[in-house]
């Protein structure tokens, strides 16, 4: 028998035995769909893990690499007939790999970056202000201000220039609706999610707490996120967030939908835009936030959503989650291409989503496949469809 410290510590040691080997997980796994070898699929990995536990195999570099070739998209968990929380199992198995010194080098880089810089890209706290370029006047006073709502950008939106417009769009929406909001600015650090993906489960709470301490001190009641993985991490690792901190965590579309229901956002007619909404894995399968983005799209006059298949909780991963985009960018891109094809068979001219990783993945897949389709965050289409303020005032006066 091979002892698995982390599996035991996180009560996951029975999961390989609970697996019924039915194979449901295999066919939905994006990595298996791309590589086609069973040892890359969830059933195969569980089977191997069982033989390692029983002393019939070794936890070597080969297996460790396979464990990291996974997007942690939770599709396997959602179809598991025996209800195994496979996403949790893969994270704990990654911790086993790290303990054995078998972390793939890109994952080690992310870990080092998180520990020394507080982000996933070896940048720094000052770089978290770069997205504000051009709107400094509006946002500077919002940084670390006491407010009801905090906007938590996350590493990707803060630090990657292609995604800066997502943050700027959210600011435009909040300003438009007159939301009392705050930003953590350069004090914001990673939410902690990539620590789990890199097998360092024990560091997540500490990282999350660095943000939460600040948020609490600002009297915040609602935190709005541009990245669903941040919400997932805080919800899972700070289980009593609501009770202990009286904090509500919302996706961008959940927040925007609320603003629309409160009558705080008005849209102008768009010239017949057909979009398709791509459900990010974590939003759909974990946060169950599948209807709000569709409601928001429906509320914009002239914008029509056509469903790509599969969608909602059966959505397919974009390939960029769970560190796969850094551990194996080629495989990640191949998975994104497969998902992009689901969109291109619809009549849509734009993909709308609400996850920065999905946007980056699709942008790359567009490049590798040559498909011409616009990819936007939900905040971007909302911000650009807002009825100009003067017209809104005029309409209100007329009304």
């Amino acid at each position: 028998m091979t002892k698995m410290d982390f599996l035991e510590r996180y009560a996951q040691e029975n999961e390989p035995y609970v697996c019924a080997s039915c194979g449901n997980c295999t066919l939905v796994c994006p990595v298996f769909r791309s590589l086609k070898w069973e040892s890359y699929g969830p059933r195969g990995k569980l089977h191997i893990m069982k033989s390692i536990i029983e002393g019939d195999g070794e936890f070597g570099q080969d297996f460790a690499n396979k464990i990291f070739l996974c997007t942690l998209c939770e599709h396997c968990t959602s179809v598991c007939t025996t209800g195994i929380s496979l996403d949790r199992f893969w994270e704990v198995t990654r911790a086993e790999a790290r303990q054995r010194g078998l972390l793939p080098r890109p994952a080690q880089f992310v870990l080092d970056s998180l520990e020394s810089r507080g982000d996933i890209m070896w940048m720094g706290s000052a770089d978290r202000l770069l997205w504000m370029e051009g709107i400094e006047e509006i946002v500077t006073d919002r940084i670390l201000k006491h407010a009801d709502v905090a906007y938590f950008l996350g590493c990707n939106v803060s630090l990657k220039s292609q995604l800066h417009d997502v943050a700027r769009s959210m600011i435009k929406i909040m300003e438009y609706a007159g939301v009392d909001y705050t930003l953590l600015g350069e004090k914001e650090v990673c939410c902690g999610a990539p620590l789990g993906w890199a097998g360092k489960l024990e560091g997540i709470n500490e990282m999350a707490e660095r943000n939460l301490e600040l948020i609490r001190s600002l009297g915040v009641k609602t935190v709005v996120f541009s990245c669903p993985s941040c919400i997932q991490t805080w919800s899972e690792y700070k289980r009593h967030l609501k009770e202990e901190n009286d904090l509500e965590l919302l996706t961008a579309s959940q927040f925007i939908s609320r603003l629309i229901r409160e009558g705080r956002l008005k849209f102008e007619e768009q010239p017949m835009v057909t979009v398709t909404y791509h459900d990010p894995c974590i939003s759909a399968r974990v946060l169950k936030a599948t209807e709000e983005p569709r409601e928001v799209i429906e509320d914009i006059p002239g914008v029509y959503n056509v469903e790509m298949m599969p969608s909602r909780k059966s959505t397919r991963c974009c390939g960029a989650h769970g560190l796969l985009d850094v551990v194996d960018p080629v495989l990640s891109s191949r998975i994104a291409e497969m998902r992009l094809r689901d969109a291109t068979v619809t009549p849509a001219t734009r993909i709308i989503t609400e996850c920065p990783r999905c946007i980056l993945a699709f942008d790359l897949a567009k490049f590798t496949t040559g498909y011409d389709i616009t990819v936007q965050d939900i905040t971007q289409i909302v911000a650009e469809s807002l009825l100009p303020k003067k017209e809104e005032d005029k309409k209100s006066a007329e009304g």
């Binding site: 039915c22 086609k36 069973e38 080969d62 007939t81």
Partner: protein, 497 residues
């Protein structure tokens, strides 16, 4: 010649009881030859891959299948076309390596598990829907196509295959053909897979491609890949029905449940799906608030197909209580999962599948209920109507495999149940590796036909050895071992006291 090689391998097993590695020098050359055929990407000799491709949902503890001999495949090859299969077969013959065709591996009983190493041939990549002919109502498919994809493609034309196994989420069509497709969802209404199969293209073990039609198709259903490799199938299709309607009833009495099931099966209006289960199994998927047994039956939701008054009369006569629309719909939705759900709560879900005449189901179940009491085994069961006359019955025991004696004793009880089933005119449902010992007793005529066919189609015994026509152990030996194990189990209870 090939059999001699197997015998030699078995002699080696007796002395070492460890899988024998193929000599390094040969291994390199075989691997290179296989790579030459399919390319580097689609062949593997890595231990991780071989471990994965040698198992299936039997979920037996490792110690249990040590006796299988060289239970790991030597190579795994993913084939994409007939030419590749042909070339791989040449290599297999040249090096006397068994070929083990593998589909979704969602069946059980070790159907695609090696016993003498060899090449595990992954057929999932041959997954084309070649032709959908709406005029003549048939579809031509490659064996690796999944039921989901086939369903989606047919749906675009307003068609359906109508029948599928309860493992349809992961199974592939070729695998279901090889396993027989006798009973599944839809078969009581549309007929079994045999009645849907009009033609098969089969690659013989000597590499020749042959079309199989008419009565010869019978040989290939339940052949478990021992005769050749199915590379294409032509199947009948149907128009998609407008909708389905499900009714679930609870019963307090086992006999009344079974009589109700039989009467429903015999009605002129046939169900698409009819299952029975005990509350123990049901509690893991769709728990009942009252009653000890449940019967769920689904029909096409059209007046011509719905026997509403007959159902009311049958359930009224035998004290069945309708469990409501919500429960019924949930039971229908859970049709893929219900048999797997208990596995979540146990390390080893020991089970055996039987193919029983429906009028013998009560006798089987009451006997299993007695064992539940007398041997204190955590028993549960499930039955799915396969044809209007026969039912696939699944008897399970939730056992922790670490408790060796309990585990073996439970297997012993399932063995006794199999002997009883055979006496009653039934037999094993899935044959595979584990149930081949019952072939001579349960299906002697079938065994002799299959032996003849094996000699004709695969004279050198390359294809999936030790399934159906051959067996690694004898019935008598297993019978004696289980007799001892169950006796010890009973004895241990008294000693314990």
């Amino acid at each position: 010649m090939y059999r001699e090689a197997i015998e030699m391998a078995e002699m080696k097993q007796e002395t070492t009881n460890k899988p024998e590695p193929t000599p390094v020098t040969t291994e390199v050359s075989i691997l290179d030859k296989l790579k030459e055929i399919v390319g580097d990407e689609r062949v593997s000799d890595s231990e991780l891959e071989r471990v994965v491709y040698s198992g299936d949902p039997s979920s037996l503890p490792q110690y249990h299948y040590r006796w299988k001999g060289k239970y790991l495949a030597d190579y795994v090859v993913r084939v994409e076309n007939v030419n590749e299969i042909q070339e791989v077969l040449k290599v297999a013959h040249q090096h006397k390596l068994p070929i083990i065709p593998r589909g979704g591996a969602s069946s059980c009983m070790g159907s695609s598990s090696p016993t003498h190493g060899g090449i595990s041939l992954d057929m999932k990549t041959m997954d084309k829907v070649i032709e959908i002919n709406k005029k003549s109502m048939f579809v031509r498919v490659e064996p690796g196509v999944t039921f989901e994809r086939l369903g989606n493609e047919l749906e675009k034309e307003g068609l359906t295959l109508g029948i599928y196994p309860s493992s349809a989420k992961s199974a592939v069509i070729g695998g279901w053909i090889a396993c027989g497709g006798r009973g599944g969802i839809g078969t009581p209404f549309y007929g079994s897979l045999r009645e849907h199969t009009t033609s098969l293209s089969v690659m013989r073990s000597d590499g020749k491609l042959q079309t199989v039609e008419g009565n010869d198709i019978d040989l290939f259903l339940q052949s478990y890949g021992i005769l050749g490799i199915i590379v294409e199938a032509t199947l009948k299709v149907h128009e998609i029905p407008s909708g389905y309607k499900t009714f679930s009833y609870c019963f307090h009495d086992l006999e009344r449940l079974c009589i109700s099931m039989m009467e429903m099966a015999k009605l002129e209006k046939k169900p698409l799906y009819l299952n029975i289960a005990d509350s123990e199994l049901q509690k893991y998927s769709n728990p009942m608030e009252k009653g000890r047994y449940v019967l769920t039956v689904t029909y096409i939701d059209e007046p011509d197909f719905l026997p509403l008054s007959e159902l009311e009369s049958i359930t009224g006569n035998y004290d069945g209580t309708y469990l409501g629309d919500e429960f019924s719909e949930k039971d229908w939705d859970l049709r893929y999962d219900v048999e797997f759900n208990p596995k979540e709560h146990t390390e080893t879900l020991m089970f055996q599948e039987f193919w029983m005449p429906i009028d013998k189901v009560y006798e089987m179940l009451s006997s299993y209920e007695s064992y539940r009491e007398s041997h204190k085994i955590p028993a549960l069961w499930f039955g799915m109507l396969g044809t209007p006359e026969e039912m696939r019955l699944e008897l399970m025991a939730m056992i922790d495999a670490e408790h060796y004696l309990k585990f073996i004793a439970s297997k012993g009880i399932l063995h006794k149940m199999m002997k009883k089933a055979i006496k009653l005119g039934g037999g094993p449902y899935t044959i595979g590796l584990q149930n081949s010992i019952y072939m001579s007793r349960a299906y002697p005529d079938r065994l002799s036909r299959m032996k003849e066919a094996k000699a004709k189609w695969d004279p050198e015994g390359v294809m999936n050895p030790d399934k159906v026509t051959d067996c690694m152990t004898s019935f008598r030996r297993i019978d004696f071992l289980f007799l001892l194990a169950t006796a010890f189990r009973r004895l241990s209870r008294y000693v314990g006291k």
